[in-house]
Symmetry: C2
Subunit: 171 residues, 2 copies
DNA sequence: GTCAGTGCAAACTTTTTGCAACTAC
DNA sequence: GTAGTTGCAAAAAGTTTGCACTGAC
């Protein structure tokens, strides 16, 4: 399924969702959906806000973004993650379930697929709980930081300051 | 291992960590560690703050709590979760790895153990990434909310308001 | 025409930071 | 004595809310 096809499909799903719940079909809502389905990987509200202002030339307020994203989550078109300081979101229609590797040093998030793992989790028998979806976050050190650390431990005293606050989001 | 024994052990681990990293061994830090290891399950900074003030009769500032908890995370004595609005923490020394069920309706978090799942995740081969720990969050509807929903759909119009904002933290 | 939805700004919550005072070493 | 820690208050960052205006129905 190509990108435009996906966009059309999710638009249709969203329309059905809005109808079913008696919500209005506003241009803002469709513009937000469209922008989100143009983004690869994760994004936060701030990124989405800038993207819409800059590229789509369609300004919506943050309040509307927060409102709309709740609808999209309920319509199963977006999922929410919470790593780092702010909530992260990603489109989820027609995307293989994937897992997340999070570097505890630089904060970088990588995705990986593993069908066996996916099945093991989804087929776990749970009592008194009706599973809808899941998130798996694996924490550790990414290859890049590993390399930095090796270099650091070689000539210890000098470099220690450099790797300080990479994890902080640069503004 | 009984509770006091665990507390002694983690205290020792923490001492070694502080020594190894040239940090001071302040009474605040040990009081925080002790309080955390008296808590079963998850807690947030605010809860910890109140607990220390009320029960331990040892007042520390929130800033110190935030500072200290970073040390405890690095010392592998505490892990951090991010469900809901604020960060949640839990002790992790001598605790079986467990997974989390999160009700998307009421926000309740339940833990469950599953050795097979644990092994499957820990033994996943990862390229260019050195795994240290992981979090698995399974989202869905808990038995209680399931029941509420069934009742709700029976006599639909009347009950809909009641289940509104349970997810909000009551203040 | 009506009321859900939007934009804006203010409020609120959680976390971080700067600085003076304190204390472990 | 000195430098790492603490407490406090202010600031920052993310999210929610109240209200007047707009536009989907």
């Amino acid at each position: 399924m190509d990108s435009q096809n996906v966009k059309d499909t999710v638009k249709q799903i969203f329309t059905e969702y809005l109808n079913a719940h008696g919500h209005r079909k506003t241009p803002e809502r469709y513009a937000i959906l469209d922008t989100i389905y143009s983004i690869d990987g994760h994004f936060d509200i701030d990124t989405l806000y800038s993207l819409m202002a800059d590229h789509e030339n369609f300004r919506v307020s943050r309040a509307t973004l927060y409102n709309t994203i709740v609808l999209l989550i309920n319509a199963r078109l977006v999922i929410k993650h919470q790593f780092g300081n702010s909530s992260q979101y990603e489109k989820c229609y027609n995307r293989g379930t994937h897992h997340h590797l999070i570097c505890t040093q630089c904060g970088k998030v990588t995705e990986f697929q593993n069908e066996g793992l996916k099945q093991a989790i989804e087929q776990t028998k749970l009592t008194r709980f009706c599973q809808s979806h899941y998130s798996l976050y694996i924490y550790g050190i990414c290859a890049k930081c590993e390399r930095i650390n090796r270099k650091k431990s070689k000539n210890d005293t000098s470099v220690s300051k450099k790797i300080g606050n990479i994890q902080k989001k640069e503004k």
